[in-house]
Subunit: 249 residues, 2 copies
DNA sequence: GAGTTTTGATGTCTGCACACATCGGTGTCA
DNA sequence: TGACACCGATGTGTGCAGACATCAAAACTC
């Protein structure tokens, strides 16, 4: 009944509540151990109890909060968060922990892509292998021409095809994060106009190795790409503090 | 033992609703594209709207369903599910796709652990390195003595320490899945009473390499463990169909 | 200190109003 | 007559408000 004139012009109240709370928690604005009351959130966000409850349920499933009767909604420490959830990753990228998140993603990618290349050489469907080779050639050309936007587009496509071609749905799921990483790297001007000549050839090597089913060569070439990428980026985040998640026994 | 503290515990209606729907969707009982109505779920599960709505919100955040006005709650295809969510993994392990899920996890682990070993050699805190060596020695002893339960316990601890010691929270988050994999392998009688002699030594090699900060040696030894594990298990799931997630453009 | 009662927050239920995508009927125009 | 654009009816999720149930922390009693 109340003035809901300004209601869902943009997104649903539910999403806005999740976004608001998720951002505040991941940014550290709401520190671990802090207790919030549902009623207090209703007042703050000017929404009804159902909206708050549904949002809290989602955050609970992400490991960001826990609810206890007679206590309230308690913020959980980062070690309890699901670090693979796309929303959590997005919130972390928008927080002070951006550098640490980028490093984590890069390390994961460096571990996974060579494995994906190895698997793709054995399992990828034939059309995908052909497309991979085409894209690698196009990348090389775009790189030589200094066509940065097109290179980025092809780069994303290349690595997406690689992950998809592995036939492992967990690897494939990383496509989105990889795309975001590559885009971010380009947008922030960390990419030269003309990519490293050897790196371009390594992409071709990966594609051709996969095309002919040479798992070991595909893996090695992919590993070279990843090691170069890591060494390029390592300078920027050396001072990022590492977080060691304790072993739960 | 994993996964369930059911029975005697009176789990909340909310959790039961999530469990019921999640299981049905992941098992394929509710196929992709199928539309359910919230009211229908209230009747089926004999719970109120609020419980259903909160459960659906959670499933929505996992990518299992989407809601559309005037249509209902639509089940999404597996390519939309979040393959890293612990609940989704658990539901898949309890479904016909168990074999495929185990393979995916094993492939992910095979990719990540050597990378984690490499990172741990450079970053792990000193006490963790020492503990890792102790555990590796204890593993070797338990292996020689044929003490299967103790070996399993130490095996889990070893790999958890390794992942934790990497200082990458995404790697560390895989501890739970690894523990479940190792436990499942033992429970299902896939482990011999006396583990492979060389594998025992490789664990020691990993630990000692990390202890002395030799990243390359740590990685290589870990890689040997993983490759042996993969080749051991590959027989059991060769006929599991692979799912290729399409590249979204 | 152990056991009991009180208290206060989440958990669950229900009725209502609203937003809005879809469907089907109606009217117009070729 | 047939094709097509329009528009209102319909159904379903979304959001709101208030009540009662439940249960664990905290206070209290012995």
């Amino acid at each position: 009944m109340a003035a809901t004139r300004l209601s869902s012009m943009t997104t649903s109240l539910h999403h806005r509540a999740i976004e608001n709370l998720g951002t505040r928690i991941v940014s550290g604005n709401l520190p671990a151990g802090h207790v919030i009351l549902a009623e207090q959130l209703e007042d703050e966000l000017k929404v009804s109890r159902s909206v708050i409850r549904e949002a809290v349920r989602v955050l609970q499933s992400l490991g960001l909060v826990e609810t206890t009767k007679r206590v309230g909604i308690r913020v959980l420490p980062p070690s309890r968060w699901n670090p693979f959830d796309p929303q959590v990753i997005r919130w972390r990228l928008a927080s002070d922990a951006r550098g640490a998140q980028l490093r984590s993603l890069a390390e994961l990618r460096a571990a996974v892509e060579p494995a994906a290349a190895e698997l793709a050489a054995g399992n990828a469907p034939a059309p995908l292998r052909l497309e991979l080779v085409d894209v690698a050639y196009a990348m090389r050309e775009a790189g030589h021409n200094g066509d940065v936007p097109r290179f980025l587009e092809l780069d994303i496509q290349f690595h997406s095809l690689l992950l998809s071609g592995s036939g492992n749905e967990m690897f494939a799921n990383l496509m989105g994060q990889v795309a975001e990483t590559l885009t971010g790297r380009t947008v922030h001007g960390l990419m030269p106009d003309h990519p490293h000549e050897a790196a371009l050839q390594w992409h071709v090597d990966v594609a051709e190795a996969i095309a002919r089913g040479d798992a070991e060569a595909a893996r090695d070439a992919s590993d070279r790409i990843m090691r170069r990428t890591m060494s390029q980026m390592s300078d920027t985040w050396t001072e990022q503090p590492r977080v060691f998640i304790p072993v739960r026994r």
